[in-house]
Symmetry: C2
Subunit: 275 residues, 2 copies
DNA sequence: AGAGGTGTTCCATTATTTGGAACTTGTTCC
DNA sequence: GGAACAAGTTCCAAATAATGGAACACCTCT
């Protein structure tokens, strides 16, 4: 975890910001100081400094701290600056137009799966997953696909560190079954999920490779069980495969085919390898 | 600007992250060191530390630094934790259903206007503005509404610091005309914009007040000129007013009316005053 | 009015960041 | 092919910036 190069203040900053979650979006000074084991004075200075930059905001009413607008701005820029995302977007839109279900683009990052782009269907009953949402890597089609192409030791580390918590009725909670499933996914080249993450949801996903043959992301389609048929599932797999192949192709493509990109680093932007 | 309480490392962090923009999403070490006037060694340690936390990422191919996924995650959480946003969302969805145009929710923040929520119409030709996008405060309906209710000295500061750059054909670039416009907006209680920010776009917006009568946000509807009629504009103003009033009411409402909120701080979450 | 909690300020101490210089790596040009 | 250059990386003594205990201020509730 702790790298040779580290700046303590940054470690602390990350620790502070990581306290905030959907479940616990607001903290008082005292609560945070207990959570982090830091003296109130130190933390107070820290929080105030962050507030002056809009990274946090302190509600004067309840004296509680929340994430601030500057993070919104940076988050938006981070999303924008993903070349993969730019390339994938129009292809995802086509995918949604054809399947009439929500499409998501995900990457693996530090034992979690992060949604970096989504295009929603306009069906009233739909699957919704916001950009930036994190999910455990063992449940759901996109997650499993990404996990399937991870190095073995990484998978082992995940199982050890995070376990395989049951998120929904069909979540795979047994390590052996998970290993089998990952092997099958690699073999068939896609993953399928039925109510592994959310009740009444199903989905399929395929891997996106970079030029070096590494999996850098997954593209998936998800919808409500009510619209599931085996035939649709198979069609969706084919469509995701096609979409993934097109994205892969664009990622390795010549500058000219990519259209407008920054003038300064025309195509390097796009092939930005996802960590 | 410089507060009494400050942590230098945080100031520096913000300075680093603020280098990244839509126009310039990728920086090499040397470029950044020149931009910030920092020695490469210092910066290198800093960037590496940020990378180890996923705040930045360094593309191994072009050795350029970009904003990382952790910012995506935090940005997403920041958006989620805005109580205002939660309250406004369903009302905005209704607004979109009625007007068939895109609705946006914006706040004023440090001489800029930030979009904190949007609901898009599914019309193929539509106005699109992503959450987290910043705009100058002198152009566009939502921006002008927020500016209209700012303290006079703040408006003066904006004009002095940022000027009134022409963004589009009808942008107000003359300070006197802007002051007039802001006065009119306060008088009539809404703002209208025709091609002030984007060619072929128009919109209206109304202010959202908190219990203390302060303007904390603006709600607006925007669409393409091709669907503009004077009558629609007037209807939209009425609908925005109504939406704003409903949001204002909810912001000051009793816990019970708000439905599911965190168990720990039921309604305080919602009345979180926007800075 | 007092008790108990929360948030805020102060300042000497100490640990952390700093950045010049030296080193490594990779690219370009002869 | 190798020399020259540029970009990135590591090191370490110096100095500065963060630390946190303690004392203070401010609420709120009984």
């Amino acid at each position: 975890m702790g790298k040779t190069t580290s700046v303590k203040t940054i470690d602390r900053l990350v620790a502070v910001l990581d306290c905030f979650s959907s479940e616990r979006p607001a903290w008082s000074l005292t609560e945070l100081s207990q959570q982090l084991g830091l003296p109130k004075s130190t933390l107070h200075r820290f929080l105030t400094a962050l507030e002056s930059h809009g990274v946090l905001r302190c509600d004067p009413r309840d004296r509680r701290w929340r994430l601030g607008y500057r993070l919104l701005i940076w988050g938006n820029l981070a999303a924008e600056s993903s070349g993969l995302r730019h390339v994938a977007r129009p292809i995802m839109e086509e995918l949604v137009a054809t399947t009439r279900e929500t499409a998501i683009l995900t990457v693996y990052y530090q034992q979690e799966v992060v949604c970096i782009e989504k295009v929603e269907t306009n069906h009233p009953v739909r699957m919704t997953l916001h950009v930036g949402t994190r999910r455990p890597p063992h449940a759901g089609a996109s997650s499993k696909v990404l996990m399937a192409y991870l190095p073995e030791e990484e998978v082992r580390a995940i199982i050890q560190d995070k376990g395989l918590p049951r998120l929904c009725v069909n979540t795979i909670t047994d390590p052996d079954r998970l290993w089998e499933e990952l092997a099958r996914i690699r073999e068939q080249g896609y993953a399928e999920s039925h109510e592994e993450t959310d009740l009444g949801a199903w989905g399929v996903a395929t891997p996106i490779f970079d030029r070096g043959g590494e999996v850098i992301a997954a593209i998936g389609v998800a919808g409500p069980r009510s619209r599931y048929t085996e035939q649709r599932a198979q069609e969706f797999v084919a469509l995701c495969r096609q979409a993934a192949r097109r994205i892969s192709a664009l990622i390795g493509a010549e500058p000219s085919t990519l259209g407008r990109e920054s003038d300064e680093f025309p195509w390097k932007e796009v092939i930005a390898r996802v960590p």
